[in-house]
């Protein structure tokens, strides 16, 4: 065991945990004030549920010994993680539990990412059911495909080992996966009332920018932590994660400037996320110039892609498809072009004399995850919609999902300006204070 490697992975895992609240802010600021809480609750619900499932059987399904064709880990092997606490139980140079924790937060985040597509209109209970089923049926297997590497006496997933596609930190397993699921779910749930006609502008852009800042911060753990050691590979991934994101901000802002006449703050925040998504699979495969190219192209591509939903008429509310699916595809495929054997992954892409060998592997890996995720998500979503119901009542949607599903209001500025905004409120019923108790004001 190496204490430095362990320190870096525990740190990275903590960073990645913070990404889910960061995402909740990023998404939450983009919806209208009347649905900010529900938007954030989809992330917090994932934090609750997936954390528990991961410990129970998720880790085992993803990283248990393969039970067939590189498709699934043995769900029973590490059930409850009971056997992984021993001093000697290592995963490479890490305590076994450090790796368990690091991977747990990936699972949580991936589920939470999907929620941005279905803002304002999904029953919270149904979302929780979906989150549990989807992580079990879609994420845990795909994580096995991509992240479980063969070792002595251990067989891992088919994409990582048989196909040998490069996905350093989850361009396929996380972003294409979540993006494809988002698209399927949007088709199942349908559009919000008033989509494309009524004002649905972000209610709190500083919150969006804060969320983007926390995501970027956390993403260093996501990408550089995926080295699972604290050394050169992590350092290269770190710098590439920085510069691709910087470049993507520029790419998105320039696109806006030329197309719309204004560089916007939502554009800067979105560009940052687009760059982070795209560099995720590639951060240890390219050099910093390659990272700049991946980033700037991600900024431009995603800035263009988010307009598609208006043209095609699907209500991907916060552009999970436009940013995560498109950005994830671009980053994954870009590895096939821009990988250089001087980078830690040691593979050359088309532009560095490696021919199309790596390129086709990247494309196959990307498409496999895309199709698998899209189809299964569509089935899961449809079953939930047909049984317990997934979509909120339209009346309730107009009233506001926070009030209807969570019986709360995001904000009450009232006492500042006069107290009446949104109505006065008083504690009633169940927990009313005993009326006879006098107030003390010593």
């Amino acid at each position: 065991m190496d204490t430095g490697d362990t320190a870096w992975i525990l740190t990275s895992a903590s960073f990645v945990l913070l990404m889910t609240p960061g995402l909740a802010l990023f998404y939450g600021g983009m919806v209208r004030a009347k649905s900010v809480l529900n938007m954030m609750m989809m992330s917090f619900g994932a934090l609750g549920l997936i954390g528990v499932l991961w410990v129970l059987y998720g880790y085992s399904m993803a990283f248990g010994n393969d039970v067939g064709g590189g498709l699934l880990g043995d769900p029973a092997e590490y059930f409850g993680l009971s056997g992984l606490m021993g001093e000697g139980n290592l995963s490479g140079t890490l305590p076994g539990m450090a790796f368990v924790g690091f991977q747990a937060v990936f699972a949580i985040l991936t589920v939470a990412l999907i929620s941005g597509a279905i803002a304002d209109r999904a029953k919270f209970g149904a979302w929780m059911v979906f989150a549990g089923v989807w992580s079990t049926v879609v994420y845990f297997p795909v994580a096995h495909w991509v992240f479980a590497f063969d070792a002595d006496g251990y067989v891992g997933g088919w994409i990582a080992n048989r196909l040998a596609a490069i996905d350093f930190a989850g361009g396929t397993a996380v972003h294409i996966n979540a993006g494809a699921a988002a698209l399927a779910l949007v088709l199942v749930l349908g559009k919000r009332k008033g989509f494309g006609r009524e004002p649905m502008r972000p209610h709190n852009l500083p919150m969006v920018m804060l969320g983007a800042g926390l995501l970027w911060f956390g993403w260093f753990g996501f990408n550089a932590g995926s080295a699972v050691t604290s050394g050169n590979t992590a350092a290269v991934a770190w710098v590439n994660t920085l510069v691709a994101t910087s470049a993507a901000i520029l790419g998105w802002l320039l696109t806006e400037r030329f197309r719309d006449g204004h560089a916007t703050s939502l554009g800067a925040a979105s560009g940052a996320v687009a760059g982070l998504v795209a560099i995720t699979p590639a951060c240890a495969a390219v050099n910093p110039i390659g990272a700049i190219l991946i980033g700037v192209a991600a900024g431009v591509l995603c800035a263009l892609a988010v307009g598609l939903k208006y043209k095609l008429g699907y209500d991907d509310s916060l552009d999970v498809v436009g940013v995560h699916l498109v950005g994830g595809l671009w980053g994954t495929i870009a590895v096939g072009f821009l990988a250089t054997d001087t980078a830690p992954n040691g593979v050359s892409g088309l532009f560095y004399g490696g021919g199309v060998d790596q390129l086709w592997r990247q494309v196959v890996g990307a498409l496999a995850v895309l199709v698998f995720s899209f189809v299964l998500t569509w089935v899961i979503g449809t079953v939930i919609q047909r049984t317990v119901g997934f979509r909120l009542d339209v009346e309730d949607e107009v009233t506001g999902i926070d009030q209807v599903e969570h019986a709360e209001s995001g904000y009450d500025w009232g006492t500042l300006g006069g107290g009446a905004l949104g109505g006065t409120a008083r504690p009633t019923a169940r927990h009313a204070a005993p009326t006879s108790t006098s107030e003390v004001s010593a």
Binding site: A407, E408, L421, G422, G423, A425, P427, T428, R430, H431
Partner: protein, 112 residues
């Protein structure tokens, strides 16, 4: 001249604005309000303590109009704001003694 004041449901504002525009009204003033009436509020729960929120968000629309138009415009507003459900709001009219356009200092109907 008359002042028409309408308290309506927020999501009907766009309809009312369009209807007035079609009729030829060139200006209006809008502000936020909260209503208390037959339409009940809702309940919120914070750490198990229930709060009754008994005020409902409303929008106030004010239009200054010429005497001859007032009946038509009341009609236009009522029609466009109607959903038929409790809480649709009120429209009332009052006499106005004078109106001035600040920019030019014009008085009376010319100021509308």
């Amino acid at each position: 001249m008359k002042l028409l004041t309408a308290i309506i449901k927020p999501h009907k504002l766009d309809d009312v604005k369009s209807a007035l525009e079609s009729y030829g009204v060139q200006g209006l003033t809008i502000s936020e309000a909260s209503g208390y009436g037959r339409q009940r509020g809702h309940t919120e729960v914070y750490r198990g303590a229930e709060y009754t929120v008994d005020l409902v968000p409303k929008v106030r629309v004010e239009v200054l109009v010429d005497d001859v138009d007032i009946d038509d415009i009341v009609e236009v507003v009522v029609k466009s704001a109607q959903t038929g459900r409790i809480g649709d709001g009120k429209v009332w009219t009052q006499h106005v003694e004078d109106v001035v356009r600040v920019r030019t200092g014009e008085h009376g109907p010319d100021a509308l």
